[in-house]
């Protein structure tokens, strides 16, 4: 009997110790605290760390100008380890213990959705970083997502690829679809499937591969080759993208248009490894050093980023995620300045109703907090001659071929010609 009582006492002592450990330190001077979870380890860690650096650069920029409404900005963030299960706890901590003034999301749909209901319950403005249709079920009006997918994200995502294809003569007839078996890739390919129907391409191959867990893509691409499609739309993640590009060259798979939703081809390390193998591939893109994409402030930002990135072993050029990670906090900061208020509802209404100038261009939000119009570029890789990094920081290598408005070079068709 005494033993059990002792155990109970021990239990309460433990609980006490835990709650002491969680008690926050006394608040410093009046800062504006922006809280978020970010994948700093796990599969999304590389990109998440680069995003964090971009956000820190923004913080330093703002604080150099005196902060937001005279208050210095402080970022409060925790590593979610790319595990959705960690996200609810992190946002509860940010709001209830750290008492942050604003929250923004982590990187990627899987890690945004678990935080969305929390933002909703508290009526917080919630900026999203690269979520694909994350708000579809919640329809929360203070959620704003920075990736330029468009109002119908899943379909708009791949529309450029299909519009390009439809314009070619003779008009391609068949398409093969391949996707990694995980959230983003499957949704991207689901959109591509709908576009294929809309544009009247016949689907001759449509499969998924396990992700992670696929070592060799040769048998998969052989099956694609056997189906002999005109178009080949791939939704894949970095590891798979590399394997697919290499295997496609090895078995001489030459559809007329190849690419679409391959994540990773935008990363410098992978570009340097693949080098010439990239030529001719057409893939979704968000930013490239092309003359049509010189948005205000982006070059100053990239200069700062590229100075710091090598020290932290991050993507050295940082064209993919970092500008958008900068932009989504920049946009929030600008809204706070414009409304002269820290009030969630006011800031939210301002973001919802205005066009915002950011380092990634002008942003206007529409339905479900997605971009009002899609601005997903299709980029064709051209004229790549070596594996050097300097190769990929020049204009004319990642040529914007869609949409017309941002076009920076001619589209080479079919794929084999651009190879």
């Amino acid at each position: 009997m005494g033993r059990i009582i002792r155990h109970v006492i021990l239990g309460f002592a433990l609980l006490l110790a835990v709650s002491i450990a969680f008690t926050p330190a006394a608040h410093a001077a009046k800062e504006v605290k922006i809280g978020f979870s970010m994948a700093l380890t796990g599969p999304l860690g590389p990109a998440g760390k680069a995003a964090l650096l971009a956000m820190q650069i923004w913080r330093d920029d703002v604080n150099a100008k005196g902060g937001l409404l005279g208050r210095k900005v402080k970022l409060v963030y925790y590593d979610d380890q790319t595990k959705p299960a960690n996200v609810p706890g992190i946002y509860a901590k940010l709001l209830d213990v750290d008492k942050v003034d604003f929250i923004v999301s982590g990187y990627g749909t899987n890690l945004i959705v678990p935080a969305l209901p929390i933002a909703m319950e508290r009526g917080m403005v919630f900026m999203g970083l690269f979520g694909l249709d994350a708000n579809a079920k919640f329809k929360y009006n203070n959620y704003f997502q920075i990736m330029p997918a468009g109002p119908d994200p899943i379909v708009d995502w791949s529309r450029g690829f299909f519009e390009l294809a439809a314009k070619q003569k003779p008009r391609p007839k068949t398409i093969a679809l391949l996707s990694a078996d995980a959230e983003f890739a499957r949704n991207a390919v689901a959109g591509a499937r709908r576009n294929a129907k809309k544009f009247g391409f016949k689907i001759v191959y449509d499969k998924r591969y396990p992700f992670p867990g696929t070592t060799d893509f040769t048998p998969i691409l052989r099956a694609v080759k056997a189906a002999n499609p005109d178009l080949f739309y791939v939704g894949s993640y970095p590891g798979g993208s590399v394997g697919i590009v290499k295997a496609a060259h090895e078995i001489k798979l030459e559809p007329k248009l190849f690419g679409g939703g391959m994540v990773g081809l935008q990363y410098t390390a992978i570009q340097m490894n693949l080098g010439k193998l990239l030529n001719g591939i057409t893939d979704y893109w968000f930013w490239a050093p092309e003359k049509t994409l010189k948005f205000p402030g982006i070059e100053a930002f990239l200069a700062k980023y590229q100075k710091e990135a090598p020290k932290q072993k991050l993507d050295p050029l940082g064209y993919y995620l970092p500008p958008f990670a900068y932009a989504y906090v920049q946009l929030l900061g600008n809204a706070i300045e414009a409304t002269k208020s820290f009030d969630q509802a006011k800031v939210g209404a301002y973001i919802r109703n205005n066009t915002h100038s950011t380092v990634v261009g002008d942003v206007k939000f529409g339905k479900n907090g997605e971009w009002a119009t899609s601005r997903t570029f299709q980029v064709q890789l051209q004229n790549i001659e070596s594996n050097k990094m300097s190769e990929f920081s020049k204009a004319g290598k990642m040529v914007v071929v869609y949409p017309e408005e941002f076009k920076s070079g001619n589209f080479i068709y079919p794929y084999a010609k651009g190879k």
Partner: protein, 319 residues
């Protein structure tokens, strides 16, 4: 009913009522979420220990049982959104049946072969779920949790209370097993299965009982998971973390008693929660890795064993 048992049950009831009272007093949601995760590990570690610690069969597939509970719930939520207790019961049933299935494997597979089979089972089930689009497949699916629930001011507090009750119940189950003839039979299997059989211990029945109860408890722990994370996908539901933690926690606490997994889960789970929000990002892995290596090397009987030893030494000095 023995005096000890009566007291234990009273303490269990007090703890459940206590955790309800906490929800009426405390507002801060973070503690509920953090506590939920720790309590979930109390259930998983205790469940693992019923099989692994008591009978000596090491299950690497905790994630499979946990995820089956979670996905059974998802399938039900998608069809008719039943109340949570239905989810708990069915999640437990499905994983319990799965447990019964692997119980029959123990007929042929001993030691590490059994462990490898459970690992393979987890992979196969994950692939099946990934290909089942009704529950979201590999893409995952968002689950809307109920807006409100009677008696509680919000759903987070309710989930915390449910998990607290489940933790108490599972520890009580482990305690009851340990103190009964079933527990002694299991210990005999752990020490020497052939000898136990010769002594007339009904080893198959006991092993089936252990795998079923252990699997069912893991499934019950997984059932509320989709409400907790809101977004469920196979990679996170089948995460290796569940297998590793549910094995590491009893090892660190001590595997032969009900107290071991409890202590291990509370300590390691809390350390992980603190590490997530305080230390640098790599630290979490480092903590688990070094705790595992450190404990098995320096304190092979876990914390409970360590305390026992210290107490024995102190007693020796007094005498």
């Amino acid at each position: 009913m023995s005096k000890e048992r009566k007291l234990f049950l009273i303490v269990a009831a007090v703890l459940i009522v206590g955790s309800f009272l906490i929800t009426t007093q405390m507002e801060n949601r973070f503690y509920y979420k953090a506590a939920y995760v720790v309590l979930q590990y109390v259930v998983l570690a205790t469940a693992w220990n019923i099989l692994g610690g008591y009978t000596g069969y090491v299950n690497f597939g905790t994630a499979a049982f946990f995820a089956m509970g979670a996905y059974t719930a998802v399938a039900l939520i998608k069809t008719w959104k039943p109340p949570l207790y239905v989810l708990l019961v069915t999640g437990g049933l499905v994983s319990g049946l799965l447990g019964l299935g692997i119980g029959y494997l123990t007929l042929r597979l001993k030691g590490v072969f059994f462990s490898i089979a459970t690992l393979a089972l987890a992979v196969v089930l994950q692939m099946i779920i990934s290909n089942w689009s009704y529950v979201g497949g590999g893409a995952g699916t968002a689950i809307l949790k109920p807006r409100s629930v009677p008696l509680f001011s919000n759903y987070d507090e309710f989930l915390f209370f449910v998990m607290a009750a489940l933790a108490v119940v599972s520890v009580a189950v482990a305690w009851l097993i340990e103190k009964s003839w079933i527990g002694r039979g299991m210990a005999a299997i752990r020490d020497n299965e052939e000898a136990a059989e010769c002594m007339g211990v009904p080893i198959l029945k006991l092993k089936l009982f252990a795998t079923t109860v252990s699997g069912a408890l893991m499934g019950i722990a997984g059932a509320p998971f989709s409400y907790f994370v809101v977004y469920i996908e196979p990679t996170s539901a089948f995460h290796l973390d569940y297998a590793v933690n549910s094995l590491a926690m009893p090892m660190i606490g001590g595997t032969t008693t009900w107290l071991g997994p409890l202590v291990g889960a509370v300590l390691v789970g809390t350390a992980q929660q603190i590490a997530t929000v305080t230390l640098s990002s790599e630290m979490n892995l480092l903590i688990v890795g070094s705790l595992l290596v450190g404990f098995v090397v320096f304190a092979p009987d876990g914390l409970v064993g360590l305390f026992g030893k210290i107490r024995a030494r102190l007693a020796g000095r007094e005498a």
